[in-house]
Amino acid sequence: MTETTLATPNAPPGTIPGWRGIAADWASDQRAFKHVSWGKAMMWIFLLSDTFIFSCFLLSYMTARMSTTVPWPNPSEVFALNIAGQHVPLILIAIMTFILISSSGTMAMAVNFGYRRDRVKTAALMLATAAFGATFVGMQAFEWTKLIMEGVRPWGNPWGAAQFGSCFFMITGFHGTHVTIGVIFLIAIARKVWRGDFDVERRGFFTSRKGHYEIVEITGLYWHFVDLVWVFIFAFFYLW
């Protein structure tokens, strides 16, 4: 028993490999994802639903863009900045991308230290992740302000296809909301880690259930998803 666990730490005893295992899980007449905690399974299912929402946004944007007879504004130029007299295309978005990727890196390490029950490092890395996220939202606020000043509205813009504005505010706005909620989520969980709630199995004020360090991984799932969505927005909205 112990040896099996040691050999493959993440495969619980009784796991059948391959498609036979999938069939066995789904046909088990019990819960399908055996040994996957409810918290994690539910977060994944929530993220799947969120995937559909973002897919619909990106799809409607694609449809709008492909069907206009008026030229689409060139994102490379729209999101260019003048830095020290130099005109650098798309630089703002590039920096935002690097910041979000870095936040994913610190989050992944936070999960690791969480399972090692290193309270201080876990909380510090989660707060670093939150700080990156807040920076991202701040840069997005700057980006929105700049575009609104230049006359971009949900119903029009100075450079061409009117749908540019509605797509931009819809997609980046919804993503920014996700980041903001993620920052709040991160700070809340980081506080619990810092306080040692998961070491003493302190009960939550709302659910009155015992907390576990697994919540750090679940928070991480949400956070990485936000980064994941940005990968697609970066490719389809800014690079197209």
Partner: protein, 135 residues
């Protein structure tokens, strides 16, 4: 004589086994609990995400156009998404029943994409026909 030897040997083995199990349990307390991968793995993935993002940015910076642009952008996008889901979100180590339940539905969205491409072509055609100023 032989019996004694076997006995001593057996005891030694048992002792060694006991220590081994004890160690396993001790390390298992932190090990079995959840996803444990070396920090180096995360740093390597982090590095790759930086490299791939830079590559995507350079595609735009150098003004590559046409099919090459799209091939490169989609390639870097898929690689980045794959790294994030597989390593950062630990999908590579999840139960297969969960992995397929989560990963297959988004793939089916591609059918929707195809439908909307046809639909937008049709809308575009109508606009060109009825609203003059085509581009």
């Amino acid at each position: 004589m032989t019996n004694a030897a076997v006995h001593v040997e057996g005891q030694a083995t048992q002792h060694a086994l006991h220590t081994y199990v004890h160690d396993a349990v001790a390390s298992g307390a932190t090990h079995v609990e959840g996803q444990q991968h070396p920090i180096k793995l995360y740093l390597v993935v982090w590095g790759w995400l930086f490299v791939l993002s830079t590559c995507s940015y350079l595609v735009d910076f150098f003004g590559i156009h046409g099919h090459l642009r799209w091939s490169l952008i989609l390639l870097f996008m898929v690689l980045k998404a794959g790294l994030i889901v597989a390593v950062f979100m630990h999908m590579a180590w999840e139960r297969l029943a969960l992995a397929y339940a989560i990963l297959l539905p988004p793939v089916l969205v591609l059918v929707f994409v195809a439908i909307m491409v046809f639909e937008s072509d049709y809308t575009h055609l109508l606009r060109v026909m009825f609203f003059a100023s085509a581009s």
